[in-house]
Symmetry: C2
Subunit: 113 residues, 2 copies
DNA sequence: ATAACACATGAACGCACGTTCATATGAACC
DNA sequence: GGTTCATATGAACGTGCGTTCATGTGTTAT
């Protein structure tokens, strides 16, 4: 059976529609949340909460290939979640923003409630 | 060329490893973030910030099929993001938690910085 | 300058996940 | 009880995305 046109409340819908964030804002929010939602990247963020780390140590910490870690770091970089500091051959990554800290902690308390 | 075992700093890695959240905690955090990272579900959350809505009005607001909305609401329900109140044939959805409000607003200010 | 090290990037494979179509449940009204 | 309305659920299809493998870039040291 096909779907019917149900009884909508147009005034209510329009009121809420006006209160909605702009589409491109929601897209950026969605993109950011997707970035930190990935388990591997969330573990990287968790680690970097305690200070900067090089790719090498991150790979050892997570028990992953350098390549995999580097790919995830590229995603985090392109979304301005982490920053890089180069010292010789080694690159040290750190969180570039304080909001990530907040999001992490609020999410943490939410799942622990 | 294959990857070499690079020069790790074991004491640093172990220190950070001790400070990491438990794996199941990170998994729950990841799962929650994935739920709200989806564009459609984020729009639903945005709408419900302004008060409860029925499936019918949500479908009209989002310009989607009832079925698609209902599927996403099921995901949000199973992850305790929304609650249902039934009034006759109609089911009204609302945010079940205040943390979601916080996560939404912090994320919003982050992408606007 | 050549080699070894630390990391980045490109491409391809595999799978999870959102959408869609179809069907099912459940409530209210006749 | 049968029909209509409001929502839920099942299954299959398509695609985006994370992983892996292979190769590339850049830096230091000899």
């Amino acid at each position: 059976m096909a779907y019917h046109q149900c009884t909508v409340h147009p005034e209510k819908v329009e009121e809420v529609a006006r209160g909605m964030q702009a589409p491109q804002t929601l897209d950026r929010m969605s993109a950011f949340l997707k970035v930190v939602a990935d388990p591997t990247r969330l573990r990287i963020v968790n680690a970097l909460l305690m200070g900067e780390l090089c790719v090498c140590d991150l790979a050892a910490l997570l028990g992953m290939e350098h390549s995999a870690v580097s790919h995830q770091l590229a995603v985090l970089r392109k979304n301005a979640v982490v920053s890089v500091r180069q010292a010789g051959k080694v690159k040290y990554y750190s969180l570039s923003d304080d909001h990530i800290n907040t999001v992490f902690n609020v999410t943490l308390t939410h799942v622990n409630e």
